[in-house]
Symmetry: C2
Subunit: 146 residues, 2 copies
DNA sequence: ATAACTTCTCTAGCAACTAGAGGTTCAAGA
DNA sequence: TCTTGAACCTCTAGTTGCTAGAGAAGTTAT
């Protein structure tokens, strides 16, 4: 049996994060020692590793909750799993596309700046006027978020 | 003079967001009508457009606060502006690199899945074992966030 | 036994907003 | 002029995925 600290080390997930996952129901309530401290077996470690890996791949916790539910029913078809993964892939591709547009605009802004005073700084001017923009990166930055 | 609703339309920033910006000190406190409603002039509109554009480019509000401070002192050299913009460019490039790695791992996972039952789903297996991973995307997802 | 370390619960905070409750004010039509 | 309905006001709380801290209790090593 592992203490929460050992589990934390083993899975590469911080201690408060483990407690947080338990709190939101991603991990089942852990058994307790006589002194009320959490104790974990190998199943908990595997489940936590799964969560961690999925988080590393950018899956939101809700999607991970679904994936865990599916992995508990091995006889079901895996189409649902695939669709979650594909949605995640699409999200990632969207973010990349968006960030590439931002990158080129930032580069353009920066290279145009001659390095004088703020009064004729291209960066400030571009941010202020919006007129020199090539892309219409205007809408919903939220989609870039991870 | 513009009401907050008109300003919202003009700048493409939602009404509660404008109030939020005022609350955190990004926008100065607006003048009020006799009935206590906010009224804005052209200066506020320009400032808000600046903020919006910078947000579209992914600058965090703290950086925008700095940029606004700098743009109010046009006689200063613009090196500070440049360095903020360059930091933002670096951040964007980092996120892109990270997301590209995620994308290829997701693609690999998905294409390997033969589409049977969950029991032999590659996606679930890969998430669980971490052994088939090529990349060590393990550390600090936080850097991808926007 | 005592010190140092870990764990416990609980609350609050981060970014950057968004949503809602419950109450005013404003602009336009009858 | 009155009235309706939209827009405005303040305030609180929620979002995502944690992280930080307080203060108390358990555990481990010497």
């Amino acid at each position: 049996m592992l203490s929460i600290g050992k589990l934390s080390e083993a899975a590469g997930v911080k201690v408060p994060t483990i407690r947080y996952y338990e709190q939101i129901g991603l991990l089942p309530e852990a058994g307790r020692s006589t002194g009320n401290q959490r104790l974990y077996g190998p199943a908990a470690r595997d489940r936590l590793a799964f969560i961690r890996h999925a988080r590393d791949l950018g899956f939101p916790l809700d999607a991970i909750r679904d994936l865990l539910g599916l992995s508990d029913r091995p006889d079901q078809p895996c189409a649902a799993v695939d669709s979650i993964a594909k949605a995640q892939l699409l999200a990632v591709e969207g973010r990349i596309a968006r960030l590439m547009a931002l990158k080129s605009e930032l580069e353009r802004m920066i290279t145009q700046c001659a390095g004088g005073s703020v009064a004729d700084c291209r960066v400030i001017e571009c941010l202020g006027s919006h007129a020199h923009c090539t892309t219409d990166h205007g809408r919903d930055l939220a989609e870039v978020s991870e």
